[in-house]
Assembly symmetry: D2
Homo-oligomer: 340 residues x 4
Amino acid sequence: MHLLNYFQGRRVTNGISPKSVLIVNKLRTKPVVDAIDTLLSYIRKNYPDVQIYHENRPDIPQGVKVWKPGPDAAKIDLVITLGGDGTILHASSLFKVGAVPPVLSFSMGTLGFLLPFHIDDYTKAIDSAFAGRITVLHRMRLSCTFKDSGGDRIDTKAEDWQVMNEIALHRGSSPHLNTIDVFVDGQHLTEAVSDGLIVSTPTGSTAYSLSAGGPIVHPSLSAIVLTPICPRSLSFRPLVFPSSSSITLKISKRSRAPAGLSMDGQTSHVLNPGESVTVRASLHPIPCINRSSITEPDEMREAGEGAGPGKEDDWVRDINNLLQYNATFRSKALTRHQRT
Amino acid sequence: MHLLNYFQGRRVTNGISPKSVLIVNKLRTKPVVDAIDTLLSYIRKNYPDVQIYHENRPDIPQGVKVWKPGPDAAKIDLVITLGGDGTILHASSLFKVGAVPPVLSFSMGTLGFLLPFHIDDYTKAIDSAFAGRITVLHRMRLSCTFKDSGGDRIDTKAEDWQVMNEIALHRGSSPHLNTIDVFVDGQHLTEAVSDGLIVSTPTGSTAYSLSAGGPIVHPSLSAIVLTPICPRSLSFRPLVFPSSSSITLKISKRSRAPAGLSMDGQTSHVLNPGESVTVRASLHPIPCINRSSITEPDEMREAGEGAGPGKEDDWVRDINNLLQYNATFRSKALTRHQRT
Amino acid sequence: MHLLNYFQGRRVTNGISPKSVLIVNKLRTKPVVDAIDTLLSYIRKNYPDVQIYHENRPDIPQGVKVWKPGPDAAKIDLVITLGGDGTILHASSLFKVGAVPPVLSFSMGTLGFLLPFHIDDYTKAIDSAFAGRITVLHRMRLSCTFKDSGGDRIDTKAEDWQVMNEIALHRGSSPHLNTIDVFVDGQHLTEAVSDGLIVSTPTGSTAYSLSAGGPIVHPSLSAIVLTPICPRSLSFRPLVFPSSSSITLKISKRSRAPAGLSMDGQTSHVLNPGESVTVRASLHPIPCINRSSITEPDEMREAGEGAGPGKEDDWVRDINNLLQYNATFRSKALTRHQRT
Amino acid sequence: MHLLNYFQGRRVTNGISPKSVLIVNKLRTKPVVDAIDTLLSYIRKNYPDVQIYHENRPDIPQGVKVWKPGPDAAKIDLVITLGGDGTILHASSLFKVGAVPPVLSFSMGTLGFLLPFHIDDYTKAIDSAFAGRITVLHRMRLSCTFKDSGGDRIDTKAEDWQVMNEIALHRGSSPHLNTIDVFVDGQHLTEAVSDGLIVSTPTGSTAYSLSAGGPIVHPSLSAIVLTPICPRSLSFRPLVFPSSSSITLKISKRSRAPAGLSMDGQTSHVLNPGESVTVRASLHPIPCINRSSITEPDEMREAGEGAGPGKEDDWVRDINNLLQYNATFRSKALTRHQRT
Ligand SMILES: NC(=O)C1=CN([C@@H]2O[C@H](COP(=O)(O)OP(=O)(O)OC[C@H]3O[C@@H](n4cnc5c(N)ncnc54)[C@H](O)[C@@H]3O)[C@@H](O)[C@H]2O)C=CC1
Ligand SMILES: NC(=O)C1=CN([C@@H]2O[C@H](COP(=O)(O)OP(=O)(O)OC[C@H]3O[C@@H](n4cnc5c(N)ncnc54)[C@H](O)[C@@H]3O)[C@@H](O)[C@H]2O)C=CC1
Ligand SMILES: NC(=O)C1=CN([C@@H]2O[C@H](COP(=O)(O)OP(=O)(O)OC[C@H]3O[C@@H](n4cnc5c(N)ncnc54)[C@H](O)[C@@H]3O)[C@@H](O)[C@H]2O)C=CC1
Ligand SMILES: NC(=O)C1=CN([C@@H]2O[C@H](COP(=O)(O)OP(=O)(O)OC[C@H]3O[C@@H](n4cnc5c(N)ncnc54)[C@H](O)[C@@H]3O)[C@@H](O)[C@H]2O)C=CC1
């Protein structure tokens, strides 16, 4: 667990330029395609020794090598994502084995929770990243083990999946509630009769878990959040566990419905009565490059009171700007125009 | 922060008997007085070399030395509390400087969240503690720094207080809401217009913070919880921070009310507009002896599946038994008798 | 709207015995079948002029007439249900046109929210009902109108459905959130991005709406509750409208998912982007016979202070017994036995 | 109860001009004083027969008569308030006996929940009100009866008070929780261990009750909301009762703290263990003139689809504009400027 925190917020100063870069995108919209072209030209011109990779697709740009995930995958030193939050979740899903390289994420003009950089700022961001003038936030991930009703391990593809946001069990389109037994470190905690349960990372605490009523957990904390979805109980509350805990969700034999499994919003398989999933902190967090770590000398001076340069917390800004956290009731003066 | 976790759940096996014991109680009811007598006899008979201390009071038992908290206090190897949860909070308040000795807490027959042992089980509990056959849960505490509106430190007695549950700011009997600026690591997080704010430890997450809508946080996690009390906003949610964060609450100059300060339920002073308090994890947690750590060999065999011997988590049992966590709606069969 | 309240809690004293009784059950378990037999014998013996009806099934008891819902259905003076809460919901679904006869509901030994009578008490309950010595609670229902994206009415079977609990829209097994525009009396209220929305009666406020975080609304109030399911917003709160309001839910053209429709827990059809449903209070509530209305003279005397005889509110008892409403934290004395 | 709804939203078309107007303000700031002068001149010039009244103060304007509340008070046909929401609450507190005249409320440039009119629009608002071209919203009020521990009525000034928002009981600056027994129509509902309880009108549902977690209830519904303040229970939920209910709050004999009483935010007396208050819907709601009822012919045409002219609901606009109800997470395009 402590490893997860190790580089938390530390400035990475080795200054050794990445030799291989993986570009990740989900959509093929014109802005995304254009942005990839621009990035490619820029990297080739300024960092000619760098090998650029891309997932296999019919139309990958010239000179870019195809990259396939798996044990034999080519080593990647830096991941660049272009798109929304879902693109980073997708990038995370590509790295199931071993350590994950640092991720530099560009938004395409739309704000996102996991998107520190605006595509227009690409030169500054890339130069800083290649020069190692960055800090990273190690975003925790969760991994899963599945067992059948006899207690034997089930081999599923989801097994290797490591989620950045959450694992969610949900009755889906079954009309009936499901009954799930929850165990913590092997000890029975409770029997949940509900629409489903969410086991979330701190990163995921602002995603589905938040909608279901969960607390907002700072992503630099190593913790696991358990949030019920529409429980048939007045007294079910979200729980926050240390990241050393293992959480087992077992579909009760008397559950009236199976539970569909979603991992970071991707539908996986269905768990039937008697089957279970055990969730643990993964050994391999995602090192996300902080926006605030990329500051030019003169911006530092401007920063003024409050957090010092490079210390500002993107998260504080995001929960205010994106979630409109604690927007207080308006009682400001009105112009006549607004009154109608 | 990592220090706090260091011994978390580790079995302490040095086997060196404590040389000095401090007995703490708040009430002087007959059961408490009788229990103290019983404990005294037992310790004197079985551990004759141990010096027993007690806070200064007119009626402390013969042979017991008076103990005064402070820098010159006699060294204590073990604290024994007798009473409710409030008695442990009181014991915590006696140790403001330096490390805290392990605490063995007896309930007087009434369940409590911080009370692992029933007084009737005193022989087993004391023998195990004296033999070092115990594990402890290091319960985090919070410490405070106060500043006036000029930013200068204010010298208050509350400054040295280290709370186990929480620091709460509340408008008290003022009819008006107060306005408090919240800063995290020096960065402005939000302006809270509310009845007040709670900064809580994981231990305190089942106390006042829970009533105000906060999540339940496992006490072995090192984290700080910020929970608003009746905020005038639809979008204020509880927040969970890493224990390395510092949280500053500053009464806004335009606050219509000052804020009364409570520490672990004890009223302290009032913070006026412009004044602030900064809360940080204390270096000195309270090592609380776990009930589940005291198991006899034959009990271990009985435990069966689930958590292994000595590994059971008192907390799971407590949130179920004491908080009636997730009590599902009853639909059990009824006898005729119950139907009326 | 006022009509709904008209007989609320009024003692119905006409004393005119019902001439036709409809028996409703969902399950065919042995206890249910036996109970039907017992009821049949009792009614035949004591009220020989009464015609008994049952829904069409292969195995309906001898002498019982088949009853088919619809405009030409035989007139029913009293409905008797045997089973769980779902059986009453099913009985409600049989009466889509015109007024509903009073409903006498027996539980099969399992508590339920809509189940006032235990089957063992059948003689007293039936005699009181046949003698008109009862009061009823008029439980409000909701009715729906469906429109396609051009604003034209869609003819669906769900149209005639009148729900006792709620109409729920849910993304079901779609991985994506849906976007629903909510209108109140034709005025745009909000755009909801969520798992779904619930429009509930006060009766339904203790069903799905409660699990989703809605308030508990007394069933004698005429009101409509709108409760979001896992909304992607910090500031969505349940709303309570007068029963004169009409609530329109329109799947936004930019919704990423359609919305599956459930009525009283029964899956109906799917609403696609552009389609809408308008919900209004139905003119035809369900007159449910109150348990507390059936009191024998001597029980009245015993009742003592508090609510007078026949005035006790079943609902108060139910939210305490069934929902374990406001179960306070235990701190009662423990016997040794309980401590382990 | 039905009376309360009687004129709900009905257009009042008698066209009979008020003969007496009471002007109410709390603050004496320059904008308020100037606005009063402007209103006075306008009314005198255009409605010379109208007698204007004001509460007794050293500096009331020339020609204005002093008005004293009470049974012998001069009859008022229209109340005009100038100030914030608190000014209307104050106006309500002046009418403790008998029916209340319609209230026309002007904001001084600051939005408020109970403030339909901006002071700049005074001519249109006053002309419409004097011509009777208005609709009113009858906002329910609550009245109280106090009893001592022997069950005898206590004569307090609060008795005659009729609140528009809520009655709140709170431990205030007592460190201890209070224990309050709640009765509904004489039947014991629950024992609340908490910071306090709120009994609120639908109008008050967007005030203190909302901050404590209560639902938003449309002000045209006749209902009573019970919301706990920081209850020591996981399973306490807000409750909504019909306005025909009577709610009794009795401080338990074993309460560790008395409960301070606030009525519409004004501190009243303290209730000690054994004492109680019974809350009922008042017979005298406040007829508040709707903003949307004042529409000029050409505006009506512009209104377009949705609610028709004069039918728009101020409340929908207010919960969106003032409470920022369901503000969805932002993901709009950003200009470069906003990104820093
Ligand atoms: N009712 C709800 O709130 C639901 C939420 N989700 C969330 O959607 C996620 C998948 O996201 P997409 O693939 O983009 O699907 P999507 O395109 O359906 O987007 C879901 C929304 O969640 C946002 N989001 C994703 N991760 C976030 C985070 N860590 N913090 C704050 N916001 C975040 C995205 O920006 C997007 O606005 C899942 O991991 C789950 O957390 C999924 C289903 C229901
Ligand atoms: N509305 C509320 O829930 C309020 C709660 N409190 C809590 O009371 C605490 C002081 O306790 P006492 O001196 O015993 O006062 P007290 O005698 O007034 O007891 C408060 C209750 O809180 C329980 N409690 C204390 N610490 C707890 C914990 N960590 N987890 C679960 N339950 C706990 C106690 O057993 C007792 O039932 C404060 O630290 C504060 O957390 C204080 C004021 C209001
Ligand atoms: N997450 C949740 O809480 C969900 C709840 N439901 C509810 O189930 C209802 C259908 O019930 P069944 O056909 O019996 O399905 P079911 O057999 O799946 O039972 C649902 C549970 O809800 C209870 N229930 C039903 N109506 C109630 C009411 N008015 N107040 C309190 N409890 C009530 C039943 O006793 C049963 O325990 C739906 O109308 C919906 O309200 C449906 C889906 C999810
Ligand atoms: N924690 C909280 O939310 C608290 C709220 N209050 C509320 O303040 C009210 C007294 O108001 P003031 O005399 O103006 O005191 P105040 O000047 O302290 O204002 C309280 C705030 O509540 C707003 N408000 C008042 N009535 C409202 C309503 N019906 N709906 C929406 N917002 C409303 C006011 O505009 C103002 O912003 C009390 O009746 C109580 O409801 C009082 C104490 C604590």
